[in-house]
């Protein structure tokens, strides 16, 4: 197996002969090619990233990256660390000596992480996450993949609460190994003095994709102002060309022709050795967003129908070919070659790539468009997208567990079930279930609250204050049933943040609207009028009963006093409705 891998690698590198040199540095495969200028740039890739983590350990790779760079934080050297889904990259630019010193320091830190810094770095990561805005497409991975693998990028780094020094050390020792790394340097030679000694290990292939969408093309509801489409495509030259064609088509149809969007674009990013993620995005003014969804659907349909002008293809091809008109082509392409080598994707020489580009036809693009549609996930604001052939992504679990039943104290239609196999929340729309054996993470609060997230991304919050009969016994049963590796201990909450029935949970959806002084005036008016209405109503009933018993009932008078009740009822009703109407 390992010889086979080596052979594949070797034959892949042959494609770059005469362009890129290769060797190994302390066992790390190394690509290098010269660039002009006094400074050199180097990058050390590891085949580990967020997709390798679990929800409970998420952030562990990022932590290792931060710890490895901690001692280097104060230099004015241009350097950076990146934790992506399928790789981690340490990147540095400087003089040869500076680059050598930096890379040596990174590897020294990886061999012996400054774990005394662990708690501080965890806090820094939590702060970093809190300050980081959520992009318009941040929810797409979790709907496609669930709360695992490539879906984890939708989540906060939960592990930054609970990871232990042993876990982090073990992660570094098994993932940040010389066999799981590739180095690239923009230099005609490998600089002397490099000491990148790292433990031996294995090249870990990128994780296989998980699936949370039973049917595609699928859609989900998202925020106003954004339309996002993602798909997964086999990594081919035609697919990368298609992404650019789609971006241009969206820009033309939605911005230039329609004026519905300001931004309309598409992106193609390798996911692993064989597949790439296609992301298309358009923004929209609220009053135009229905048209953006419609235009988006029509643009995708146009490409699927193969109505692609040769000129569109040629323009994109020309743009991609321009990429080769740079000085130091080989050096500029090193990061992408190194990443392909790391992921096990085929290496294409510039000539091979040019030839493939030239060979792409409109028919090829149509085929890619169909694949993109078939595997697509669309996020739309407002109305759904079922009319266009998309199926709503699952909003409820397929089934519920049985166990102790705990009615909601807020909504009589909702019941929490804590069973031997999992927990379910029974709602009028359907059940939401997390089974213990498919639990990605359970967060634990000292006040008894638990929140369970399944591998499929469904989440059930067990708040003892919000359901009847969730005793410490039931919580203990939960704790005993969830695999220890999935448990994430969170600190105590501010008592104000512990939810109480009748209030929205703190940090929940929208803060309850407070009613202003005008509202109270309406309120008082309503009660006064309602009291009068009730009194008059009572009088009416009494008079009616009295007259009915009389020898000669005066029905005219009875009708008259009942008639006066009607305007009272009307005014009360109006007063009741008024503040509601305003608070909308």
């Amino acid at each position: 197996m390992s010889t086979e891998t080596n052979q594949t690698r070797a034959s892949g590198l042959d494609a770059l002969a005469g362009l890129v040199s290769h060797t190994t540095t302390q066992g790390i495969p190394t690509l290098y090619a010269p660039a002009q200028g006094g400074e050199i740039t180097a990058g050390l890739f590891f085949r580990v990233g967020r997709a390798d983590e679990t929800l409970a350990t998420s952030g562990i790779t990022h932590l290792v990256e931060h710890l490895a760079l901690h001692r280097l934080g104060l230099t004015d050297l241009h350097h950076n660390g990146t934790t992506a889904n399928a790789y981690t990259l340490f990147h540095v630019t400087g003089s040869e000596a500076e680059v050598v010193a930096h890379l040596n320091a990174v590897c020294a830190a990886l061999r012996d992480l400054p774990l005394e810094r662990l708690e501080t770095e965890k806090e820094i990561l939590r702060t970093e996450a809190a300050g980081r805005g959520q992009g318009a497409n941040s929810q797409m991975p979790l709907w496609r993949y669930g709360a695992q693998g490539y879906g984890l990028s939708s989540y906060r780094e939960l592990g930054t609460w609970s990871l232990t020094a042993d876990q982090v050390r073990h992660w570094a020792r098994t993932r940040f190994t010389r066999d799981n790394a590739v180095l690239w340097i923009t230099s005609g030679h490998v600089p002397a003095g490099l000491d990148l000694t790292l433990p031996a290990g294995t090249r870990v292939p990128a994780p296989a994709a998980t699936g949370a969408l039973p049917v595609t093309p699928a859609y989900i509801h998202g925020d106003d102002g954004h339309v996002v489409f993602t798909s997964v495509l086999p990594r081919t030259t035609a697919a990368s060309v298609f992404a650019d064609v789609l971006g241009r088509a969206l820009f033309q149809d939605l911005r230039q022709e329609g004026g519905y969007s300001y931004t309309a674009e598409a992106d193609y990013s390798p996911r692993d050795a064989d597949f790439a993620t296609l992301t298309a995005y358009a923004d929209a003014l609220p009053q135009k967003q229905d048209a953006v969804v419609g235009g988006f659907v029509d643009t995708l349909a146009r490409l699927r129908a193969g109505r692609i002008e040769q000129a569109e293809l040629d323009a994109v091809r020309g743009k991609i070919l321009k990429m080769y008109d740079v000085p130091d082509l080989a050096a500029a392409a090193l990061p992408s070659y190194a990443l392909s080598l790391l992921l096990g994707h085929r290496l294409l020489s510039p000539d091979q790539h040019r030839a493939e580009l030239e060979a792409v036809t409109v028919d090829d693009l149509r085929e890619v468009a169909r694949q993109a549609w078939d595997a697509g996930l669309l996020q739309v604001p407002g109305r759904g997208a079922d009319w266009a052939g998309f199926t709503l992504a699952p909003q409820y679990s397929a089934d519920a567990v049985t166990g102790t039943r705990h009615p909601s104290l807020e909504d009589e239609r909702v019941t929490l079930v804590i069973g031997a196999e999992g927990v379910s929340l029974l709602t009028p729309g359907g059940p939401v279930t997390v089974r213990y054996d498919a639990c990605a993470a359970m967060s634990v609060r000292p006040d008894g609250a638990r929140s369970l997230t399944g591998h499929d991304g469904f989440c059930v919050s067990v708040e003892p204050t919000l359901y009847r009969g969730v005793t410490p016994d039931r919580i203990a049963a939960l704790d005993a049933a969830v695999p220890p590796g999935a448990v994430v201990r969170l600190p105590a909450r501010d008592p104000e943040d512990i939810p109480r029935p009748g209030q929205r949970p703190a940090g929940g959806a929208r803060p309850a609207r407070t009613r202003g002084a005008a509202g109270w005036a309406w309120q008082i008016g309503f009660w006064a009028c309602a009291a009068l209405t009730a009194l008059w109503g009572l009088l009416c009933v009494l008079v009616t009963v009295d007259e009915a018993g009389a020898a000669r009932p005066e029905w005219d008078a009875v009708t008259g006093i009942w008639a006066l009740e009607l305007p009272l009822l009307f005014v009360s009703w109006k007063l009741l409705r008024e503040p509601r109407r305003r608070s909308r």
């Binding site: 967003q289 349909a301 109305r383 009319w387």
Partner: protein, 322 residues
């Protein structure tokens, strides 16, 4: 057999007016015959001989009314996957099937189940039309039906407008699509009176002399009249601004020397005749009734409880103004 002055063959004098397009436009009869015989080749040949997209849209809408025609259309759509016509016809047929389930009642009188089945038919139609419009964006009849699906599926004002704009890029004055967009722009479908009247006015100004488009002005006033209650409705139509609006629109459209009847002229004259009559402007209505003779269209006369009696009554008043 005798002939009436209105030129409807076979019609017995005094039995009019006639609302059925197959009576008022007998050149459509071969289409119905072909459809009822399930003769796709003849249907296609009939459409191929039509000389304007407006006529194609008219005939598409008419054929879609034919019960059971979907059997032939499903087969034709499968056999001619590149031809936009069978899929457009089929989509329009699905829309009619769906709308029959929904009924023309206001939304609050339609059950959840009716809505679900109605939407399911419209989605089938829409998905055919997405494909057709992607392949043939110049094909006005498909966009015209897509304006109906957009309305039924409640895709919103902006999306309906986008569809119309895509169509009008190829056919700037496609009257059948304009009447569909006008519906969408009315408050009952989420629009506003400003939007409805504004569109009618702008489209009329932009259209060449003698186009049917001017009838949108009359249709917009009729929609507003329908929305008003009791005496307010009559007062609105009697108003001088409405009358002047109607006069101008009629002059530049159906009364203009360049006007070419086509197949929409009965509906267009009907809109003016009805609008003038409701406002008591019978001398203005006269020329429209004269043009119509014994012919009428279901729409907009169906907005009245007894279209036939109303037509006769108003026509009598109009012709008496000579």
């Amino acid at each position: 057999m005798s002939r009436t002055t209105s030129g409807i063959p076979g019609a017995v004098p005094g039995t009019g007016p006639f609302f059925d397009p197959y009576d008022t436009l007998p050149e459509l009869l071969p289409l119905r015959t072909a459809a009822r015989a399930g003769d796709w080749a003849a249907v296609r040949a009939y459409f191929a001989a039509l000389d304007s997209p407006e006529q194609v849209s008219f005939a598409v809408g008419l054929l879609a009314e034919e019960d059971g025609v979907e059997t032939m259309l499903e087969r034709a759509a499968a056999e001619h996957p590149a031809d936009p016509l069978p899929r457009t016809l089929l989509a329009d047929r699905y829309v009619r099937i769906g709308w029959a389930i929904r009924s023309d009642l206001r939304a609050e009188h339609v059950s959840q189940d009716q809505f679900a089945r109605f939407h399911a038919w419209l989605r089938r139609a829409e998905q055919l039309l997405i494909e057709v419009c992607a392949q043939a964006p110049w094909y006005a009849p498909a966009w015209t039906v897509r304006l109906i699906t957009a309305r039924g599926l409640q895709l919103g004002q902006a999306e309906a407008r986008r569809r119309y704009d895509r169509l009008s890029a190829h056919h700037p004055h496609h009257y059948p699509a304009q009447t569909q967009l006008l519906q969408q722009l009315c408050p009952k479908w989420g629009g506003s009176w400003d939007a409805a009247h504004g569109f009618a006015r702008e489209a009329t100004t932009a259209a060449p002399d003698g186009a049917h488009t001017g009838a949108l002005v009359a249709l917009a006033h009729l929609e507003r009249w329908l929305d008003l209650d009791g005496p307010e409705a009559g007062a609105y139509m009697r108003g001088v601004p409405v009358r002047d609006d109607l006069r101008f629109a009629a002059q530049v459209s159906v009364l203009h020397p360049d006007h070419r009847p086509g197949w929409h002229w009965i509906g267009a004259h009907s809109a003016f005749a009805m609008a003038f009559s409701l406002g008591g402007h019978f001398s203005d209505a006269r020329r429209h009734f004269e043009a119509l003779g014994d012919r009428a269209s279901d729409f907009p006369w169906s907005y009245l409880s007894d279209p036939k009696a109303a037509f006769v009554k108003y026509r009598k008043s109009a012709l008496a103004t000579i």
